[in-house]
Amino acid sequence: MLNLSGISKSFIGVQALSGINLDVRAGEIHALVGENGAGKSTTIKIVAGVYKPDAGQMEFEGKPVQWARPADAKNAGIHVIYQEFVLFPHLTVAENIYLGHERRNRFGFVDHARTRQDASDLLRKLGVDIDPQILVSELTVADQQMVEISKALVHKVKLLILDEPTAVISGREADLLFARLAALKAEGVAILYVSHRLEEIFQIADRVTVFKDGAHVATKDIGDVTRDRLISMMVGRDLKDIFPPKKPKGEPGKVVLKAENVSVEGRVRNAGIEVRAGEITALAGLVGAGRTELAMGIFGGLPMSSGSVWIDGEKVDAITPATAISKGVGFVTEDRKGQGLAMFLDVAANISAANLSAVTRNGLIDRRLENEIARKEIDNYRVVCRGPATSVATMSGGNQQKVIVARWARTSRKVLILDEPTRGVDVGAKTEIYRIMRGLAGEGIAILMISSELPEVVGMSDRVVVMREGAISGELTGANISEEAIMSLATQHPTGKVPTAEVLAQ
């Protein structure tokens, strides 16, 4: 059905794909796996006509094709369910589902009653209970995902692409989705399924393709690979070589950051957490469980509706990022470009950004001092760049991340919060960031890491706090830390129902 050969694509300064191959057949579920930054999303966007490849050939239904715009791919029968939903918040559920395929009466006008009725039927067929008349913005994230999925069922698709569809939904909804996919497969639809969750890949896929650092590693029948083999193909080395050794057993560190009873409107309910000096504490849970919001609330980046925060034993009232920073707390955000970097400034300015007073003399920035500091940190963290005046926008994700860590490590000598620290970072840089994090913990800094990657949580943390639906559902330490234990805390049902075979995000 779909055949990509030798596709390459680069963005300013970064080679995202180098000559990848991929073929997806009619009537199969083809899994595409790889770490963050392996080039999966870029591949999807090329197939969908969002990006144009720099080189290589794309064939669809046996004919070479070139999409000028997403509409071309769509008209050819390709439907993509993106990880970031394409939903229109001010339109109703029904309108969203039929957008572009409006139900019309015989005069050609949009038939709202029929749209509503059909949407309702479709959602019921899918097995979810969503009112088609409400605005999409009023739905939970999981329900939004189900609406996104139902959009794919509206019209005849030949190739269905799903990018991490289960990242925000629970086991029951995932089962509904898998049943639907099986039915589509039986109808001869080709399905390209991108996911981090290896369990479900073994459950539903026929073949699997592995990408690593923008290159094709292997394509195998699912029966020919094991879980461990898949992981080592994705990562390119054994897991134990990636993570630095943990803190040796012994006295737990002093509590440096303590939060109690924290609530953030709509996202976090009465959560408390302690982070200890010299330790890496992980905050785990499903996407949407409220981890980022809890950490942001503590940092002062989101308004807390209740709660108290102690930093180094001292109670901090009405916390703002500015006070948190002055108390020695730093926050490496998940969204590097949107919340972390000053994209138009250079490396030196980005490193000094959290503590401008350190480079300010008489109200003026001491550029020479700033450069000197930057040069030191560039060496220190092995940042690959042309020097302090390199524009951060031209650097790779891994090096950008190192710049941000360097920035905070200078000012935040007490607590460093890192939200998905290795997202969009290649394996080499990943290992280095792990080493840096462990090194900072060794210097006595309390580290709080938010992560959706279970191997990372298990491999890095001395202590794991798990969140579910906005509340803390448990804590694990030492030898108790395992993927299964975290999973069970992240998904078990609060009402006491039997926990289903739910899986953790990614």
Binding site: R69, Y82, V86, F88, P89, L99, M296
Partner: protein
Amino acid sequence: MTALAPIRLSSRLRANQGVLVVAALLVILLIFGAFISDRFRTTSNILNIFEQSTGLALVSLGQTLAILTGGIDLSVGSMISLLSTLTSGLIAGKVSMVLPVAIGILLLGLLIGICNGLLIIWLRVHPLIVTLGMSAVLQGIVLLYSLGPAGSVPPSFNFLAYGKVLGLPIGAVFILVLFLLVALFLRYARLGRYIYAVGDDEVGARLMGLPRARVMLTVYGFSGFCCGLAAIYLTSRFSVGQPYTGLNYTLASITPVVVGGTLLSGGKGGVFGTLLGVYLISLLNNVLNFMDVSTHYQLIAQGLIVIAAVSIYVEKKKRV
């Protein structure tokens, strides 16, 4: 309204809160006006308000659609100046020229609007800038054509502005019909729905393969067409067009749209809110006139209304 909005009642009430406020304000002003002056209550005064609001309503109608897509049309003022100057200039007092010129003016408005749309699509520049630039270009052109009032129209031409059907001003009736048609278009035509979708999430609309280009051309073309209508109406009203006729309409056309609850960020709102906004502003000016408030202060009042409206309707600020 029920027939027009199948959204569940609770969401709908929340969505239309602002429009209800405007409607309430309208009623309060009416009552207030009735108290302060006997003349206010006369039918002729009420009809007068309708009559005065026609030009503004026409421009704001086009503006509403542009704003619904998340854009804006800042060229409306200059466009009206140009088109109304051309109207009287080309008719030059000849009855025989009225019809061909009127058709030509409407087409020209449409064409200029489509130019705006094409530039927005091709240059990938924000509509604010494109239409701002277009505004300057058109102002220059109209001044090249004439530095003052140009030509004249036959006396019968002001029938459009002052004529009545069944005792109602032609303009006001025309407005009601036109607004209704556009409302139906927005609600029941696919393209109408896409206008909302593009305004809601332009990138998403592209990913969904929606015809963004067609939406832009329609919206800005229609805005240009509305300017043509307004220009003809205003020429009829003032008996002559001059290069500054439209000067104040750029801001003035945005005010009722915002007051009527259409989000400047696009994707939400509608033309009925705009119509209410138009009437509210005309009524306010009328009441202020009766209170002998000078036009200077009316200007202040209008600015304050814009500020109040945009700060009320602004969506909850996200703090991260």
